[in-house]
């Protein structure tokens, strides 16, 4: 039995962050999921088994016959994301407005539920689950061309990985030099589409970003003014004794 699944992961998310200081820094960077930047071929094994060739296209998802064709939408994600930090530490790094959409075609039985899981790994370490979503009261449908969508809660990656994970230390304290470190974040969105019999199809797509955090070099500047005078009108003479 072959199912044909097409789903598109569309996460339109914004990444927010806060440095340690009580100063909110502005950023123009965003994560953009759902664009088509890479396409992957995948083999899908479901139910009794079957191989679905992943036809990878651009933005369009061609509906095929029951010939078990799958198209996989890809994560589109900003390739680089730069943050300037006074201290080299972040108090929060939030992925927000996370949304997913999945479409399926030619199931032999109506689909009952769709489950998504979002995982993220930092610098190649083990992935951590940072979000889930489920839609389980679906109108029975063998195909769904318009797609089913879901939202996930915002995720603070500093809470997920810990503050130290994103810390950029100065080479030498207050030497005035900027220090930048890059962090590789890879996001994997997995969807499981389950029919009324409990058979399911699972697929994952991923996207990666290079997060650059700069610990800005320290600088102090001095300015001021004074007046020479033959009298002190301020009455705040300094006691040199």
């Amino acid at each position: 039995m072959l199912y044909s699944l097409i789903y598109k992961s569309a996460i339109g998310s914004a990444l927010y962050y806060r440095p340690d200081a009580g100063i909110m820094l502005k950023t123009a960077c965003e994560f953009r999921w759902g664009g088509v930047k890479n396409m992957k071929r995948r083999q899908i094994l479901i139910g009794t088994g079957g191989i679905a060739a992943a036809g990878i296209g651009a933005a369009a998802f061609a509906t095929t016959t029951a010939a078990a064709e799958i198209e996989t939408g890809l994560f589109g994600i900003e390739e680089t994301y730069d943050i300037d930090s006074q201290s080299g530490r972040l108090s929060s790094l939030t992925v927000g407005n996370i949304g997913a959409i999945t479409k399926w075609y030619n199931f032999d039985r109506p689909v009952e539920s769709v489950d998504w899981t979002l995982e993220v790994s930092l610098d190649g370490d083990d992935a951590k689950e940072i979000g889930t979503a489920t839609v389980d009261e679906l109108e029975p449908a063998y195909s769904n061309e318009s797609g089913v969508t879901a939202k996930m809660d915002d995720v603070d990656l500093v809470e997920v990985f810990g503050r130290d994970a994103f810390e950029v230390e100065s080479n030498e304290l207050y030497d005035g030099e900027d220090v930048t470190e890059n962090f590789d974040l890879e996001f994997v969105l997995t969807v499981v589409v389950t029919d009324v019999q409990g058979d399911y199809i699972e697929e994952s797509v991923s996207g990666a970003t290079d997060l650059g955090i700069t610990n800005l070099g320290a600088d102090v500047s001095t300015g001021g003014s004074g007046e020479l005078s033959d009298e002190d009108e301020s009455g705040d003479e300094y006691d040199n004794g």
Partner: protein, 248 residues
């Protein structure tokens, strides 16, 4: 420090001293702000100064890129005179909230009587003389973070005090040229490093204004008599029109 005589014998009677000698040189090391101390000229009726203040000491420190929040800021003023430097002649400290990795703080340092800071006998002006006292002021701010690490910055400025021990009245100041009068004649003190030709305008009731041109060598003085048409009047209004370098 240089000690130059400005006034020798000058006119008598009440007068106006003209001074100016403003030549502060900014030596700011800061990339953001400067420190500037204004010059002064004033008259004294006593040979020994008891007061020569630096007042209105306003300091501003800004910091950025700290790895720990700033905890407090220290501001201090060093004063150099005659080859001697007195550190921390005036200081102030501002406590911060301890959560600022970057910020700006302002403070006011107490005034300093420079006569007290340095030996008082160095601040004497003989009668009918003038003295120029030159100082170098260095303002330093140190920002200390909550980890105890400190980062300093300083900015300097030179300032000059011209003190005239005379009963004459200052008429006007043209840069480094001071003009005084006792009401019947003008005394021109050239504090600049160049010879100059100074133009004065003399006004007297019932007569047209007349200008005189007086050559004054560098670091010297000249007494200018009233012009012929107005000579003999009891008093004049004198205005410094301008000067040119070189001869008249």
């Amino acid at each position: 420090m240089k000690r130059r005589k400005l006034l020798y014998s000058a006119g008598i009677a009440g007068g106006v001293v003209v001074s100016g000698i403003n030549a502060g040189t900014k030596t700011a090391q800061s990339s953001v702000a400067d420190f500037a101390v204004s010059d002064i000229h004033f008259e004294t009726d006593d040979s020994e100064l008891t007061e020569l203040w630096v007042t209105q000491l306003h300091a501003e420190a800004s910091w950025t890129g700290f790895d720990a929040p700033a905890d407090f800021v220290e501001a201090s003023l060093d004063v150099s005179y005659g080859g001697e430097t007195v550190a921390k002649a005036s200081t102030d400290q501002v406590e911060l909230s301890g959560d600022e990795y970057e910020g700006v703080v302002e403070c006011q340092l107490p005034s300093v009587n420079l006569v007290s800071v340095f030996e008082s006998e160095t601040f004497t002006v003989e009668k009918e003389d003038a003295e120029t006292f030159e100082f170098l002021f260095t303002l330093r701010t140190t920002v200390v973070d909550t980890s105890g690490h400190a980062f300093s910055s300083d900015s300097s400025d030179e300032a000059t005090a011209v003190v005239i021990h005379s009963e004459d009245e200052t008429v006007d100041v043209l840069d480094s040229i001071v003009i005084t009068t006792d009401g019947t004649e003008a005394t021109i003190f050239n504090e600049s490093g160049e010879d100059v030709c100074v133009t004065l305008r003399w006004s007297h009731h019932g007569h047209d204004d007349v200008e005189t041109h007086t050559f004054v060598e560098s670091n010297d003085k000249e007494v200018q008599e009233p012009p012929g048409q107005a000579s003999g009047a009891s008093s004049y209004e004198i205005e410094a029109v301008g000067y040119e370098q070189g001869g008249c």
